[in-house]
Assembly symmetry: C2
Homo-oligomer: 299 residues x 2
DNA sequence: TTTATAGATAAACATAAACTTATCTATAAA
DNA sequence: TTTATAGATAAGTTTATGTTTATCTATAAA
């Protein structure tokens, strides 16, 4: 069976007008062209679809059945066309964003604003640590990711959108809280709370300590920024975190930053996607939105 | 937008295998042929449906949406194909039969047997008098009709399937009940119960009386055979009816036939349809069934 | 009976669709 | 670096589609 969309279109017109000639006019075709299309369709289905009695034509039973299927199919096609049409704009569809957990403190606000501006976009947010975020990218799950500096070997298209200074935090009553320019080696006996391995913050911290030729004393390993902050607040040790994650706590005076030499580590956040990714209009809009928001924040 | 069924087929295969090359193998095509079909579909919808990352391809969001529509459409097509396939056989679909009311006494049995032999055929039966039956034929409502001799001027294909003698009936206690060869003119003072005008039996009766140069005394005009029979049984007068309509009553001795000269009028029943009508396999099967049943009954 | 209308059919042709072959490019793996 | 694989691209061919023109048949209406 080799039914074509054209055949169905022509058939529908003939069935509706109950006239080959009228259908031909409507479709801007000649009458023989219509005759042929119908004949081919009848050949495909192996049954007559019309019967002619005198000058009038009628649908046969098969024709009636075919008409209903035909209209169904054409409706489906129209629905598909409409959805595609919507997807061509930036105000529809799904937007899958994965963000490194550190970025969360900043990004959720961004997303809230974007969601308000694009109410019919379904946003799927996924907050995770750097490592698993890279795995998701590898599996092509997210449209866009917000993260620290992406690895160079992964063929990503990335652009920085915001500064991300890493600072040393301590409990408010820490003895060095008011000292200036603390040499890192003065902290040799202090325990450090560290994020789980796979965390970008953890990696940045270790890189920094290696650069400084400082072998740190590992206090405790904790999952996620919240746990680290709470641990520091409770006096379990020091930690290196993104300043954005502790803005609240610094203002409320529940944590302090230590003015250690070489700190803060100046890093940046990036909006990234895999090279080759066909960004939807919505994803592009979000990307530009993030970059613009970063610009604004840095002024 | 000009989406073709072919494009959807190819697209579905690529989306399922997530490979142009595998899809091409499956469809017995070359890989470039597949590339082209996809490209055209993408052109039609105005969006990329796949994204390539390294060697792997993925569906885009638009692709995912399109795939679901695509499968819908192909399912519809398959459903249509299946229904057409069924309709090609004699064991499906609708069968619209209109029968003249006189034929009812015989035809309902026929239909019952046919219905039992073709259980998935939906039979739509319509019992009415000759005139309105001809109107229905004109409007191309029934597939087949069972009736008395069809008018020659209506371009019908008809074939007799059964004898239909018209007899004169009377109440059992009628004074002429046992007389033989009653001359018609002996009935000049008797009232006749007649069917409504538009009835074939009524027309046959009047034709017969005109031929016999007999002007009958009209007793009462009644709708349908049952009313006539009951009227005769109640002694309201005589009537001319098809012998098939009174078989029961004759056996039960509730009515008798009068042996009037020139009677019975030998008429026949016909199975007929409009010329040009595309009889479904089912309708053809029924037509042959009726003719065979008539043959059998006449032996 | 004549006339007008609807659809079927056939021939000839233009256009577009669907393929194939051959070649090229990029990527992943050896 | 080389090799194999996946897909893109270009050119050319076959097949299908749509078209016109002309003619034919059947029917309904004048």
């Amino acid at each position: 069976m080799h039914i074509t969309v054209r055949q169905l279109q022509v058939f529908e017109a003939v069935a509706r007008r109950l006239s080959y000639t009228r259908a031909a006019e409507e479709l801007h075709l000649t009458q023989p062209a219509v005759s042929m299309q119908i004949k081919q369709l009848e050949g495909s289905v192996g049954l007559p679809l019309f019967e002619q009695m005198g000058k009038k034509i009628y649908l046969t039973q098969a024709g009636t059945a075919m008409l209903s299927h035909s209209r169904n199919i054409m409706q489906n096609l129209a629905a598909a066309a409409e959805e595609m049409n919507d997807l061509r704009g930036a105000d529809s569809g799904r937007l899958r964003i994965s963000i490194a957990s550190t970025v969360n403190y900043f990004a959720t606000q961004l997303l809230a604003v974007f969601a308000r501006e694009h109410p019919s976009v379904e946003i799927i947010l996924d907050v995770t640590n750097r490592e698993s975020l890279l795995n998701r990218l590898e599996a092509n799950v997210p449209d866009l990711v917000l993260m620290g500096k992406p690895p160079a070997d992964m063929d990503l298209v990335s652009e920085p959108f915001m500064d991300n200074p890493l600072v040393m935090i301590a409990a408010t009553d820490h003895p060095l809280a008011s000292r200036k320019k603390i040499p890192i080696h003065d902290l040799a006996n202090t325990g450090f709370l560290v994020r789980e391995s796979g965390s970008g913050t953890r990696a940045a911290m270790e890189r920094f300590f290696v650069e400084q030729d400082f072998s740190y004393k590992k206090g405790m390993e904790l999952m996620g920024n919240e746990a680290v902050k709470q641990g520091v607040e409770a006096g379990l040790g020091l930690a290196l975190v993104s300043v954005h994650t502790v803005e609240q706590e610094l203002v409320l005076n529940r944590l302090v930053t230590l003015d250690v030499e070489g700190l803060p580590i100046m890093r940046r956040w990036y909006v990234a996607h895999r090279r080759g990714k066909r960004l939807s209009a919505t994803a592009q809009a979000f990307r530009e939105f993030v970059l613009a928001a970063g610009m604004k924040a840095s002024n």
